[in-house]
């Protein structure tokens, strides 16, 4: 292997290799890619206006015009699923990004400053950890009102402890490595050490956690929608579609729940697989 190859291509090369040896991972990446594209382009892909009533029969079965059938208001389920992808994918992404920013920030502050800052942050994290996400969601819904904002904020807060503890441990481990001491001895400034060395070192492990967290966020958001605390109609999202279609399942018209449920499962499965592989990479790099 030439120097140039090593320099330019470690990650893509590794990715290609892994993809060749690990078709599951490849499928997961493709699935997630497709879902991401749908999330971005859903409104243009949708054959009907997702909120237009009576474009088909009430609770219609899948047909050529309506491949996923129609719901209890005669809306096209395929269009709703496509358009709903944006909220369904975007909301957990925001949860993960927010909680990562907050969690990593707290963790780095704790690892870096140590002492009472670390103690205080640890206590804060303990307290958040102790309050179940559902409780935070209930409180958030009443404080921030309805819509996706409240559950997203609630989950972002609820996930802080997981990410903060993980990052805190990883950062402490990283800071204990001699190369950090070497940098100090060289006279490299603290911010430079933190942002040029410590933060990049955290990226793989944090990225892996983000992938895992995305799946959880998606499930949790769907559950919150199910409890009636989530996305408000008529804007579709998969979680609220599943909840809304519940009655249909027992009445013999399961399409409204089934298709979004399948998509939720596929998405979570895909990010789960991706997350697991990224975790493996991160650990491999660590060695």
């Amino acid at each position: 292997m030439s120097v140039a190859q090593i320099a330019n291509g470690t990650v893509p090369a590794a990715a290609r290799r892994v993809a060749r040896r690990d078709p599951t991972f490849l499928v997961a990446v493709i699935a997630f890619g497709v879902i991401s594209v749908v999330a971005l382009a859903g409104p243009w892909l949708a054959p009907y206006d997702p909120n237009e009533l009576y474009v088909g029969p009430l609770n219609g079965a899948p047909s050529l015009e309506h491949p996923f059938g129609t719901d209890d208001l005669g809306r096209d389920i395929l269009s709703r699923v496509l358009v709903g992808a944006a909220a369904s994918v975007f909301a957990p992404a925001v949860v993960v990004v927010l909680s990562t920013i907050l969690g990593v920030g707290l963790a780095l502050a704790a690892a870096w400053f140590g002492g009472w800052v670390s103690g205080g942050i640890a206590r804060l994290v303990d307290v958040i950890f102790a309050i179940p996400g559902l409780v935070i969601a209930v409180l958030a819904v009443t404080i921030f009102g309805k819509g996706l904002a409240a559950p997203v904020i609630a989950l972002a807060i609820a996930y802080i402890p997981i990410i903060a503890r993980l990052t805190r441990t990883a950062a402490a481990r990283e800071l204990a490595k001699p190369y950090i001491a070497a940098l100090r001895v060289q006279g490299v400034s603290s911010p430079a050490i933190c942002f040029r060395h410590l933060v990049p070192a955290m990226i793989p492990i944090v990225a892996a956690q983000m992938a895992v967290g995305f799946g959880y966020a998606m499930l949790d958001l769907a559950a919150i929608s199910f409890l009636g605390l989530g996305q408000q109609p008529p804007s579709p999202d998969w979680g609220s579609m599943i909840a809304a279609g519940q009655a249909g399942i027992l009445a013999g018209a399961p399409e409204q729940s089934v298709f979004p449920a399948i998509l939720v499962v596929i998405t979570v499965l895909a990010v789960g697989i991706i997350g697991a592989r990224v975790t493996d990479w991160a650990e491999e790099k660590e060695r």
């Binding site: 237009e52 009576y54 209890d72 208001l73 309805k146 408000q232 009655a247 009445a251």
Partner: protein, 549 residues
Amino acid sequence: MKRTALAAGAVAGAALLALTACTPRDADDADVVGDDFEIVDAQPAGTQAVDEVTWAIVEGEPATLNPAASANLIIPNLCDNLLSLQPDFSIEPGVAERAEFVDPVTFVITLRDDVTFWDGSPVTADDVVYSLQQNTNPASQWYGAFALVDPDPTAGIAATGPNEVTVRFIAPDSTFRDALAGQGGAVMQKAFGEANGAAVGTPDAGLMCTGPFELQDGGWTPGSEIVTIANEDYWNGAPLVGTLTYTFVSDGSTLATALTQGEIDGAINVSPGSRAVFEGDGAGSLTVGHSTASYSFGPASATSAAANPKIRQALNLAIDRDQYLETVVNGLGYVQKTIVPEFSFHSMEASGTYQEGYDALAEPEVDLEAATALVEESGEDVSRPLVVAVPSGAKEFQQTAAIIQSAGKQIGLDIRIDEMQASDFGALFYDPSKREGVDFVATQGYLETPGVLGYPSLFMLPPEMGGIFNWSGYENPEVTEHLLAARNATDPETAAREFTAAQEVFAPDMLQVTLAGTYQLTYLSDELTGVTTSIAAYSSPWALHLGGK
């Protein structure tokens, strides 16, 4: 005069409130209305004794069983009202043998002498006075019906004999007698009430009434069930069911499965959305009964475009009622022309006059062009979205909101949906600050006793005269005059004419855009019968004749 109006306002307000905050249910295939079901207001009485019946309460667990403070389907089996409401909405004597105006402002109630409370003590005039006086407190659900009663406690409601109570009024009130067939006329024991104070009706203190079922100490396990047992000494004959247990299932599909699997024996107000499940193979069957319930929406603000009648008329023209019925109530409903439903005057003395007035009103129709023109004519700025508030969690309201939104879109109105938690939605009705940012409120309401003045008084009179839901500032002197005259009328025919005169004017103004009238849906195990299946169940002991076939 002012006081009169205020009084007139409140008759059905509380009932409407109780309703909107809770949630009714709906349906599916509707263009076949009438074809595949018949309307039954009362099932044949049961003939066999049954040890135990489990009943589901779809509205969820009540906060209290105090008849003065709550309207739910449990209280009617526990507490008798002075007059007895029949399944067809006619009124018969009950605990009160006789209850009539002896002059325009004096109302005399004569009690049966064989009615006892659950503890065996006889019902006295003092108990009735105590019970009625509960409702002279503005906090009572039924204060509106008592608004014209002389506020002087000694003069207003007084025992004038061992079995006689006299009520004096400051102005004639044509609605009072009907109200006594509802929980406004519920009879409670004075001694028990005074001993327990505010705790009456709670799981701790319980109740002391005369109804066919008895709530025992500890019968109410909060969060799980309310167990009632037969009152063997009931004055109108002991019930056939030994123990009637209420559980609380607010999830429509769970309930549908539990009912059809026979895990629960019956429920009133089941969701029309599950019609297919109920009509399929199952442990029981669905009975469709008359109701005064209807879905409607109305303005919540005096300043928004929603306050302009033309906007409401435009929406009225844009909503396809048949589609609405099919979607929201699965065909288990009917087109209702105005806010006051036919069944509410169905058994009243002057029903012919009322019916004529109703029939004269225009049928709702779809005319998108006219609707769009109305929006333009209105001169309102329609670039700002209009917000329609609905209670969250109920599919019927989600669908209603979506339909309103869709209709609005067709005629150039941008409508947003705001689903509100039950408590917030309830607060809309008395806290103006909660209505900020809300343009329309969609509700379902019903009238639990006969009478036509409730809704119009609440929605069309000026606020200071009792129009507490008149949030758009609607004021039409003609309407006001006729409505007041109707309430103060001393004979039924006059009242009816005054009302129809008012209705002719207010109906086209669409203070509430009525979307559909619905039926009362009762699901009952095939082994049982005898339930009151019309809306009268809210005010009469509907389980009295419940028993085995």
